[in-house]
Subunit: 126 residues, 4 copies
Amino acid sequence: MLLEIDHHCGIPIYRQIIDRIRRQIMAGQIQEGRRLTSVRELAAQLRVNPMTVSKAYAMLESEGLLERRRGVGLFVAKLSSAYKDQKRQIILEEILKQVVVSAVQFGVSEKKIKEITSELYKKYKP
Amino acid sequence: MLLEIDHHCGIPIYRQIIDRIRRQIMAGQIQEGRRLTSVRELAAQLRVNPMTVSKAYAMLESEGLLERRRGVGLFVAKLSSAYKDQKRQIILEEILKQVVVSAVQFGVSEKKIKEITSELYKKYKP
Amino acid sequence: MLLEIDHHCGIPIYRQIIDRIRRQIMAGQIQEGRRLTSVRELAAQLRVNPMTVSKAYAMLESEGLLERRRGVGLFVAKLSSAYKDQKRQIILEEILKQVVVSAVQFGVSEKKIKEITSELYKKYKP
Amino acid sequence: MLLEIDHHCGIPIYRQIIDRIRRQIMAGQIQEGRRLTSVRELAAQLRVNPMTVSKAYAMLESEGLLERRRGVGLFVAKLSSAYKDQKRQIILEEILKQVVVSAVQFGVSEKKIKEITSELYKKYKP
DNA sequence: GTGGTCTAGACCACA
DNA sequence: GTGGTCTAGACCACT
């Protein structure tokens, strides 16, 4: 599991862990049923307090994305692809809404927003 | 000046004040050179401690968006419209970047994102 | 009397007035015995509250640089040139002390400070 | 970390803290990456309210001199020595400018200023 | 343990 | 009237 943490950006570390793992699960980069890196190991990798990792895992579990098997570890839950599609769209819409609300308030046109979108796609598309 | 504060959303009140005022200034809804509602008055309006408002104003001043005239009050600074255009674009790009990065990871197409953008514009455009 | 006030620099306006007038008196640019611009007139010139000018004048008076003649106005006090010489040197030493203390702490050499002094002299010498 | 605060000199305590810490960092007396005394501890040492210390630390952070690690503490940021050199010179020039402007106005020669500088160096050089 | 936020209320400097 | 500073003490989030 590959995670990058920014210790200086102000976003709580446990949030960064949650966001990154959630994204990887939703993107299918971590497959269903696979066991997650253990708390201790991930904490060591990220040079972070184990409590922080544990907290992130607990929240992902309560979100239904992870399943705990006592004495064994945490595993990626099985989600219907319909559920994943829906959740993906919700995540994107949530953020896009912020963009559009601000843009409207600033008097920035829909066309301009789409232009910026195209540029960003060129930049981040693999 | 019309501000709405959510006391229970977890975002610090002074941050909410900063964000809302910054947006109003960037959107031109508060005109240059105009005096802001006084600390005490805004604090009373929002039912918040004056220090909280004062902190927000102080940070907006250090950001260059406000100017202090001692013993008189705080005023909206004069900014070149080029500067404002640039700052507006940076704000929007910052948020849009999150959308695109996630979308690429989820395998959501540029076309789909633009469709959602159009829908949101229909919804929020006045 | 020519004074320039910066309304946005954070230094109290009455302090700016005091500093500028004191300097002009010490530099002999305002001659002994001459009457100062009236409070009202100066306040109008500087677009400042008359109370502010009045306060500045009062402090210069208590410093011994001005003399009040009731019903007439404020006048530049007569100072021995020895007194002025001494006071000038005290003013300069006071500020230079700050420079040297900082420079020593920063490990900046005496030579370097003298170089900067020379440059500044070139810039500000008439 | 050794700080001395004057509670009666009129300069805000948080400003005094900022100035002293900034100087110590610029002078290299506090090394890069080192953790600062905690807010509560420094507040106790100085017999000052923790908020006052916190405010000072926050401003030093926004200045880029400190870095926050959440839940851990504040650390001295890593700055390029070129950056520090530049900043040091700016600080000194700022104060020296006041000296030279006054000196020119008083008719005090460059030579005299350099003599006073030499004397002050003898006095304050360790 | 760490720092961040907020309150209620005081006092001050400035205009 | 304006904003700025400080206190004492509370509660919260993060590690």
